[in-house]
Symmetry: D2
Subunit: 345 residues, 4 copies
Amino acid sequence: MTVKFALLGAGRIGKVHAKAVTSNPKARLVAVADAVADAASALAGQYGAEVRSIDAIEGAADIDAVIICTPTDTHAALIERFSRAGKAIFCEKPIDLDVERVKSCLKVVDETGATLMVGFNRRFDPHFQAVKDAVLSGQVGDVEMVTIVSRDPGAPPADYVKRSGGIFRDMTIHDFDMARWLLGEEIDSVSAQASVLVDKAIGQAGDFDSASVMLITASGKHATISNSRRATYGYDQRIEVHGSRGAVAAENQRPVSIEIANAAGYTRPPLHDFFMTRYTEAYAREITSFIDFVEAKTPASPSGADGLVALALAEAALKSVSEGRAVKVSEVTGPLADRSVFQGR
Amino acid sequence: MTVKFALLGAGRIGKVHAKAVTSNPKARLVAVADAVADAASALAGQYGAEVRSIDAIEGAADIDAVIICTPTDTHAALIERFSRAGKAIFCEKPIDLDVERVKSCLKVVDETGATLMVGFNRRFDPHFQAVKDAVLSGQVGDVEMVTIVSRDPGAPPADYVKRSGGIFRDMTIHDFDMARWLLGEEIDSVSAQASVLVDKAIGQAGDFDSASVMLITASGKHATISNSRRATYGYDQRIEVHGSRGAVAAENQRPVSIEIANAAGYTRPPLHDFFMTRYTEAYAREITSFIDFVEAKTPASPSGADGLVALALAEAALKSVSEGRAVKVSEVTGPLADRSVFQGR
Amino acid sequence: MTVKFALLGAGRIGKVHAKAVTSNPKARLVAVADAVADAASALAGQYGAEVRSIDAIEGAADIDAVIICTPTDTHAALIERFSRAGKAIFCEKPIDLDVERVKSCLKVVDETGATLMVGFNRRFDPHFQAVKDAVLSGQVGDVEMVTIVSRDPGAPPADYVKRSGGIFRDMTIHDFDMARWLLGEEIDSVSAQASVLVDKAIGQAGDFDSASVMLITASGKHATISNSRRATYGYDQRIEVHGSRGAVAAENQRPVSIEIANAAGYTRPPLHDFFMTRYTEAYAREITSFIDFVEAKTPASPSGADGLVALALAEAALKSVSEGRAVKVSEVTGPLADRSVFQGR
Amino acid sequence: MTVKFALLGAGRIGKVHAKAVTSNPKARLVAVADAVADAASALAGQYGAEVRSIDAIEGAADIDAVIICTPTDTHAALIERFSRAGKAIFCEKPIDLDVERVKSCLKVVDETGATLMVGFNRRFDPHFQAVKDAVLSGQVGDVEMVTIVSRDPGAPPADYVKRSGGIFRDMTIHDFDMARWLLGEEIDSVSAQASVLVDKAIGQAGDFDSASVMLITASGKHATISNSRRATYGYDQRIEVHGSRGAVAAENQRPVSIEIANAAGYTRPPLHDFFMTRYTEAYAREITSFIDFVEAKTPASPSGADGLVALALAEAALKSVSEGRAVKVSEVTGPLADRSVFQGR
């Protein structure tokens, strides 16, 4: 079987996914859509695909799956539309910035039985997967504490910040997903503190650039997250899982691993300075995994529910900062249907 | 000048300090007191000192300074007594488990003008001092986030736990002091979460064995602390300071640094498994520093106020856990006299 | 301009180069030749190329360059033939196992003015290139000592050993090239010792599996090479350059960089276990570089002369082992025309 | 039993040993001798010992053992004298710079049955001992290749060089001993190359400052040694043992282990810059071990024979450089009595 793809959105991340699809012998890129006609035709041309409108893709018999890389505010409607059209859907995170909108969207996905995968790319990083493998194989025993340090090389422009939904929904959301994935148990409550230390413009835009978060599960497992919008030494992405029998940690990644020794000491180069070079392999594996789900007709993971819960954690964190207290996740989500979100990889 | 010492308490930590005093050419160990006569005479004999009662030491003209290593519940009274006797005082932490008792004790210290140093030994660890040096010399720029991971090799007996004042006063207190020392600014509020994951007996004794803490200062600087009473790989003691220009971290310490490579991978030995071997050098430098303060007749650091604030942070953490909210340090301490606690090293 | 390629040899390494050519927007794979017809057609089919005979490729107007991945004993004749046919040539190392045959082959290359690049892939490894960059930028000062440790994960079958030309021509040859490249000066003499410690069958085939080599240049710069045909922990590839101002070293590479800590210590996974995964990026960059040379019509590097000198060093090492003395490279090569082999990267 | 010591030579290394003796509850420092009367009395005074002449020490009934830290050219005669006087002897390396003189000296030691330990301090370094332990416990399988990189922070004055016996006898001699100790088998032949790259004055004094050495045993085990008289990044002391089942390496040591990260990368401080701080612990353990040998009345290790063989390796290396060939150790030593030098630690 060959999975036939349409790509919605031919921007930066769309190009990454186009390359992944066309490198996969089990997939074919059939169509590309983009509001900017030139962008669509350039990307389609590079890989021998057609330019089509979203309407045409929706009705096309020769499309099995869509990859949604359009602006965030279009995600939920596109998911609903292609769920109804019977296509498998890969959607970049987040589904929406609003928890209620995500819930209503996922209701449609459930009703149509559509395959939906949400783009939490970090789950597919080989190093983080090795951490997860170590956990699953019992090498650290019972998981007790997850520690995540996640810092961007540099702060985004204030303009981006305004549209982003804020640091918790835009940046920490990845760490929330990693924390859940590694704890292997749902978060019960969230405590957060945040401030503006990097760029005053971010504060003026109503957001924070420095945040600390503590999570705790019903059984008492902990996670801590430390975020900053600036790290002079590169894209700082560390996770550690501590358990009853030991701990496992993923080291930071750098483009070259040399060390120079002189009178000033021993110096290794800075880390990757960009998420796309840091997570190159993760993006490729993510789409490979989606193709496998579509081909096998099994539910995809990370699922829509994973996207919803990560967003709810972000909202709970924001509430915790403003109210100075630990916030139950259930305050944000209301009662959730019992989804078994940890079954897969 | 030779500083003439009496040692109060000839137990495990008393022996460490006796060795430090007698190795220092500027100091002499004159007397040892201990409720257990044999312990006192054995230690005194080893170093050519006399066994004396606490009363005799209090009135002795040939004693300049005392080192208090007696049980915690005797600390405050001994500090008051030797303050009034005009002796310089080094006291193991904590001064007392009760904030009000500490405050009344420090009032006497202030009134008598006594020199008092509190035993936060970690400030004297060469690696942590190198971190502090890097901060003071501006190598990380403005401090923004301090990250501390501090885990004991194994849980203490429940019996000890009951007398200890709980994990925050007994274990986290060191991390609170390190966080303040490295942030260079007073903590404004404390959020904590805690659970029992390691040993149910600890829970039955009314304490926790796993804790996470977030601290924030008035200007928005963060610290996070992760504590566990168990680490299978040894005594885990990591600190990191992240700032506007970079970050500095102290690596964990192991007794030997070899690496064995085979089909299972590359393995380095576990860390130190005991605080006294991990902090051997810190204990020696701590007493050296105290001798220097006594000789120079300058105020000692860490001071009684440092001891008070660390204890107040512990109490605030406990309050945060029980009330599920961020607790202001001022709720615990009341208004503090304006002490400049960060002037020294 | 698009460089049009024919690939001679559709085996393991041929596939690697085919992928590199077809991923490069400046190149196109036009034809594939292989003595095994199925191998040729499978690879040609995958990339939309034609199957052609070597004769047809030789005379084809639509071929600019050939990549020679055929068995070693065909290399020299193919280089001569395609030099005369006016094609640019990339040839896997070695040109031949016999120094005199290499010299006569390179004479033809010189006479025809053909572009010839020899496949010393390690020069294109990003980590080793970063080492070279550090040297070129003066960060280690004057180069004084190059230290290379190079160990294979496992010994090759004795059958391979017999055809290989022996450990120095088959394995150490890469290290000889790296040593010259990093010393930046021609080797004057070679001392070597070798033994059979890994597999007696290798000794019975007349070869060694463990070797140590010392090189020295006319100005007194040193290199040492340590080789073994077995390393239980993976493909061990370390280089270090020590100079007047400091040193630079490339660290070993592993597929995932995590660390697991438990009572047995801290363990990182083994290294890559295969040269093709270790040097994936190097192979891609190597062909990219060749394409750039062909496009720019500049002499390629590593050149035929580089291939010749590395082979001569191997022969000198073998002579050193058998005669128990330091062997001058000139004893093997005779006087070499003065080629400036270090001008490039 | 208390071992009663006399110290001959109150210089830099004599002070180190005096501290080790007086810290050991099983030993007592009774007497100090030095040609410089003030040096002797200062050191004796510090530890409550007497100043005595060498003659007085020789005849003293209250002296069990002597530590010889006098100039090298006095070692052999003092060893002979105190062997005959029935004292146990610890002598700093080397016994003498001349192989024949060492042999005649050891003849006296053998005839008198004296206990003689030679000061190869590196065998007592905790990290190198852990390497040896890993080898002895079979963790690397059969030893195949020992790799030693040993570089001094800075070149010694030419004046020292002239008296030193040259780089092989003065510096490499430690590495020769380590290589033998770790190979667990006698060296059969030595190949060396050497040059002057660091300081021309060293060349003018007839010595080298940069050297590479290869050693091989009768069974074909290898060792390589890389020496330089300069390393800008500190005192570089690495050893690695590679065997049939894996490898073990000792990492370099630095006074503090922190890491600073910024836009220039990740920097750790330089290594120790002085052998006495690098090997502090080794010196203390060395004397402790000697005291244990004296107390147990067992032969000491490293023995006089160990000192002789290391010196012979140095002489063979020098011969190899000047003659451009591999030199058998037996060419230098003549036939050696069959001493089992590897029995101990």
